[in-house]
Symmetry: C2
Subunit: 425 residues, 2 copies
C-alpha cells in the first residue's frame, strides 16, 4: 500500500520545464521507471520526466540516488528488493527533479533519443479476465442465459500465458499463421483472418514468495511494483478452434506488447478508489477492508487505430475504445492473492495482465471481437475495419485522474501489424 505524500503535491513543479506543461504524461508527480539506451551504450534504468529521461545510473554515479539497484541494466534488482526500495527511490528522485533543486541537465537524455527496452526479463506472465462487461458481451454468443464463466463472480479467472513473446511497445508484430476449422467443416492453415487487440492493464510484481507460501490480501498490495499498458494481441480464428478445454494457446502467444514505462504503485496512491461492489461478496481470502476502499484505480484508458491510409493522410489515430480501469470486477490485489493462494511462487518481474478492460458503455468495448458484435467500424476517412489489417498500428494510452491530484499518464503502448511471412518450405 502506498501513502499520499509530499511527492504528490499539486503545487510541486520540476526544473525540467517540459514536465510542467499541462497535459504531459510525465509531471514530477509521476516519475515512472523504465529501461533505455542511447547509441551504442548498454541499457540502463531511467525515469520519465516531461520529454526527458533521467539517467538513473548516472544519477547514482553522481551520488544523488543511493540504491545501487538503480544503476542496474534492468529493473529486475529493484523489483526484487520490493516496494520499500522503490518508495525510497521515488523520494530521492522527486527531490532531485523538483523545482528548487540544482538543475542537473547533465543527467538527462531527450526521450526522442532514447530507445526503450523491456523493463526486465519477464519471468512468468499470467493473464486475467476481470471485466464483467467483456465476459458478458462475448459470452452471450456461447450461452445467452449464462454468459459469464461459471466462476467469474467467485474468483478472478485467469490463465498462464506466454512469457517469451512479451515485447516492448514499438516492436512490430507479424501476422501469424494458424489452424482453424472453416464453417463448412474443412480444415485450414494459413495467415489469420481475425487479428485483434485487447486493451489491458499490466501489473508488475515486486518481491518473491516462497513456493507453498500464499500471499494473503493483507500483503497483496505490497507485491505490486507498478502498472503499465498491455496489448494482449489475440488471434480469434485460432483461439476459437483451439480453446476447448485447456484454454487459449497459440491464439495468445504470438506477441504481447507492454508499455515501456512502469507507473509505480506509489505514484498511483492519489488515484485509489473503492473497488466495485461484488454480489455475492468475495470469499474472505479475496477480501480486505483496504481492497474495498482503495483497491481500484481511477485510470482512463484508450485504444486507437492508425491505418496506412490514415498515416499517409496525416490523420491522428482514431479512438476505438475509451474505458475506465476502475470498473473492473476484480482488483489487482485480488489477482495477486488468488494467484498465490495455492502456494504458487510469484517472482519479482512477473507480469499479470488484467484482462480486457471493457466497460458497460458502447464506446468502452476494449477489443474488436466486442466492437464487431454490431458490425465493422467505419473510420473517419471512410475505411472500415472488422479486424486489424496489415500495416495498421494500434496505440494504447492511459491517464490517471482524480480530484485534487495532478493527472499522470502512462505513455504509449503501440505496435504495427506486419504482413504474414511466406511459410518456410
Amino acid at each position: 500500500m502506498a501513502q499520499r505524500d509530499a511527492t504528490h503535491d499539486l503545487a510541486r513543479k520540476s526544473w525540467v520545464a517540459s514536465a510542467n506543461t499541462p497535459g504531459t504524461d510525465f509531471p514530477v508527480q509521476n516519475l515512472p521507471l523504465g529501461v533505455f539506451s542511447t547509441d551504442g551504450a548498454a541499457p540502463r534504468c531511467g525515469v520519465a520526466i516531461g520529454d526527458q529521461v533521467l539517467d538513473l545510473k548516472a544519477a547514482h554515479g553522481a551520488g544523488l540516488v543511493s540504491n545501487p539497484a538503480a544503476a542496474a541494466n534492468s529493473l529486475g534488482p529493484l523489483m526484487t528488493e520490493g516496494r520499500r526500495a522503490s518508495a525510497a527511490l521515488r523520494a530521492e528522485v522527486s527531490a532531485l527533479l523538483s523545482e528548487g533543486a540544482p538543475s542537473r541537465t547533465d543527467l538527462l537524455v531527450p526521450m526522442a533519443a532514447a530507445r526503450m527496452h523491456l523493463p526486465t526479463t519477464v519471468r512468468n506472465f499470467s493473464d486475467f479476465m476481470a471485466s464483467y462487461d467483456h465476459c458478458a458481451r462475448l459470452g452471450v454468443r456461447r450461452d445467452p442465459k449464462n454468459p459469464l464463466p461459471q466462476a467469474f463472480r467467485q474468483l478472478p479467472v485467469a490463465y498462464h500465458s506466454r512469457a517469451s513473446s512479451v515485447r516492448v511497445s514499438g516492436e512490430a508484430i507479424t501476422r501469424p499463421h494458424g489452424q482453424w476449422q472453416r464453417q463448412d467443416g474443412t480444415m485450414h492453415f494459413g495467415p489469420t483472418e481475425a487479428m485483434d487487440y485487447e486493451l489491458e492493464m499490466a501489473v508488475w510484481i515486486a518481491g518473491d514468495n516462497a513456493i507453498g507460501e500464499p500471499v494473503p490480501m493483507s500483503s497483496a498490495p505490497d507485491r505490486i511494483f507498478g502498472y503499465g499498458l498491455l496489448n494482449d494481441w489475440s488471434v480469434r480464428d485460432v483461439q476459437r478452434w483451439e480453446m476447448p478445454p485447456l484454454g487459449p494457446f497459440l491464439g495468445k502467444s504470438v506477441s504481447t506488447s507492454v508499455s515501456a514505462w512502469i507507473v509505480t504503485a506509489e505514484a498511483l496512491a492519489p488515484f485509489e478508489v473503492p473497488a466495485p461492489a461484488q454480489e455475492p461478496p468475495a470469499l474472505p481470502y479475496l477480501d480486505s477492508a483496504w481492497n474495498r476502499s482503495n483497491g481500484a484505480l481511477a485510470v482512463r484508458m484508450t485504444a486507437a487505430i492508425l491505418t496506412p491510409r490514415m498515416r499517409s493522410e496525416g490523420a491522428a489515430p482514431f479512438v476505438l475504445t475509451d474505458t475506465q480501469f476502475a470498473g473492473m470486477y476484480w482488483t489487482a490485489a485480488t489477482m495477486v492473492a488468488h494467484h498465490a493462494s495455492n502456494g504458487c511462487n510469484l517472482l519479482a518481474g512477473d507480469l499479470l495482465g488484467s484482462g480486457t478492460v471493457s466497460g458497460p458503455e458502447e464506446t468502452a468495448r476494449a477489443c474488436l471481437a466486442e466492437i464487431g458484435l454490431t458490425g465493422a467500424v467505419t473510420l473517419p476517412n471512410g475505411e472500415t475495419r472488422r479486424w486489424i489489417q496489415d500495416g495498421d498500428e494500434i496505440v494504447f494510452r492511459a491517464r490517471a485522474e482524480a480530484p485534487g491530484a495532478v493527472p499522470i499518464g502512462f505513455g504509449e503502448c503501440r505496435g504495427v501489424l506486419n504482413p504474414a511471412i511466406a511459410w518456410p518450405a
Copy 2:
C-alpha cells in the same frame, strides 16, 4: 535428428563397474545430463554413469571434455548451443567412460553423495494433452458422444503452464488450498480434497527461434535437447471449477516435478519407432516422413505410490500405472512445430510436457482421475486411495527398450505430499 552410432553399441562397456550391471538405468549407452552439487560446493553439470556421477566441470578442467559450456553451473549454455554441441559432448564422454580408456575415478562422485538441482532455470513451460486414451476416458463424463476436444485429431492441444513452480525430483509438495463449488452449490475454500498426479514425459528445448519465425517439421526434431519424467501435479476440485473457458490455472501451478537427469535425444536414437497412424492425416505443417517413421519413442513408463504405512512396513512402491510413451497420438516433434507455428519463440531451457501418458489398457491409466473412474484403488496392504493422501509419495520411472539396443533408464521423478499449512491470518 540423431543417428545410431558407435556410442550405442551393444558390446560397449564402461570402466565404471556399476554401469555394466544388467538393469542399471545408466549404462555407458545412456549418459544423461544433469546438475548436481556436493557438500557446500556450487552446482555443476554431470553425467550419470552406473551409480556414479561424472563431474563435467572437472572433466573439462582435465582437458577431457572440450566444450566450456559443460563447465557451466547449469545446462542452460549447452542447451543454447544446441544439438550439435550436445552430440559432440556425448561422443567425448562416451570415449572417456568406455572400457579401454584410463580409469579416472577422480572425476566421479557417488550418486548417493550428490544433491540434484533443476537442469536449468525453466524459461517457459507448456503442457500438452497428446494421449487419445486420456482424453477419451475423461471426456466421456463431459460428452459421451464427443469425448475428445474438438481439435484433438488436428493439432496437439496444449496450454501455457507455470514455469516458476517447476521443481526437481525429491522436493516435497504442500497440499494446496483452493476454491471450488460444492455439489450443493455452496462455495468452499480450503485444502484440496482431490490431489492427483499426471505421468508425463518432459521435453527439453535446445536452441532459440526468433519471434515471428516458425519451426518447420524438418527442423523440429533438432530443437529437442532431451527427455525426462514430469509429474504434472493436479488439483482436481480446483481445476473443475476454474477451467471454463480459459483452461487450468491454480489447478496446475502448485508444483510440477521433473526428473533430475535429461536423457538426450542422441541417447534415444535406437528407440525411435513409427508414430501412430492418424485419421484424418495431419495437416502438412504437422507432418513429415521422418516423423511418421521415427517420431515416437519406445519408452515404458510407470507411476507408483508409497504410503506412510507402506513405508513403515518396508514395502516397495506399488505400481498404479504401466504405460507406453510410443502410443501418444502426437509426437514431440509435432509439439515443437505446432507451438512455433504462430511465430512463438521457443527458447533453450523451455520445457514441454507431453500430457498424461495414458494407453488403452486398464493398467495404463496415468492419473488417479482416470483410475478412479472404476472406484478407489486397493493397495496390497488393504489401504485404499481415491486421491493422494498426506505423506504419500508418488514415484515415476521409465525405461527405453528396443531390439538390439541396451535398455536405458530415466532415473526417478518422485515427490511426497505434505499436509496443508494453516491459512495465514
